[in-house]
Symmetry: C2
Subunit: 119 residues, 2 copies
Amino acid sequence: MIDVCQIRCIHQDSVNRAIGGRTDDGVLEEAARLLGVISDPTRLKIMDALRLGELCVCDLAAVLGMSVSAISHQLRLLRTSCLVRGRRDGKIIFYTIHDEHVEKLMDMALDHCRQRCGA
Amino acid sequence: MIDVCQIRCIHQDSVNRAIGGRTDDGVLEEAARLLGVISDPTRLKIMDALRLGELCVCDLAAVLGMSVSAISHQLRLLRTSCLVRGRRDGKIIFYTIHDEHVEKLMDMALDHCRQRCGA
DNA sequence: ACTATAATTGAACAATTGTTCAAATATAGG
DNA sequence: CCTATATTTGAACAATTGTTCAATTATAGT
């Protein structure tokens, strides 16, 4: 029994408007998943490191001071979410930010958290 | 003993460039925390519902079909991260998106996940 | 083929997260 | 003041997540 509160407290018209105009659940869930991928410090540091140019797994491990395995696990997530892309050159795979749209998304997030909160 | 790989595989200059140019750890961790807040389906749905106008906790519970308590818990996170703001009118508190910068950030995330992945 | 190296993968464990349920605030009206 | 209502809060539990360790795949050189 969900405690959706009694009819008297709901602003029915506002609720209807919100229900009518809401974004498809699937899209929102996919977006949440995507944001979840860049909401991890390690992955954000990886993306940040890649902004100045391509790096291999080993380089990233050196930059972040973490194990190659840990980095690789995170890279997989970033790859499958189209946030980074890799190009193979012999034994080595070089990673870069997937596209500038992604870079912009990162910038906006960094911007927001640099602004102080008024209320 | 961390398996930072042997010197031979590191591209030293690239690594130095990345280390020199990297964003402050604190900022990245704060950004990660912020992104974490909007990376949850429930919270994203709350934000989506608020785009068309202010709603109270009770309205949001009705729109999402969830308990008032669950919504309230999530609203707290959204409030303390300056993603939504509330104004009190008597017994009722009406919530809205904090500012248009936040709205833009959401749009970008939704955009990205609507684009298909090439590789 | 055989060896060495770059990178990925799987299982497991610790740590974090989201929801529920019950209880506590805060505001308004009689 | 006492009751009713809107919202918040705390504790607990289930589910998810990130790292480590060990083993595996992929590529290149000899």
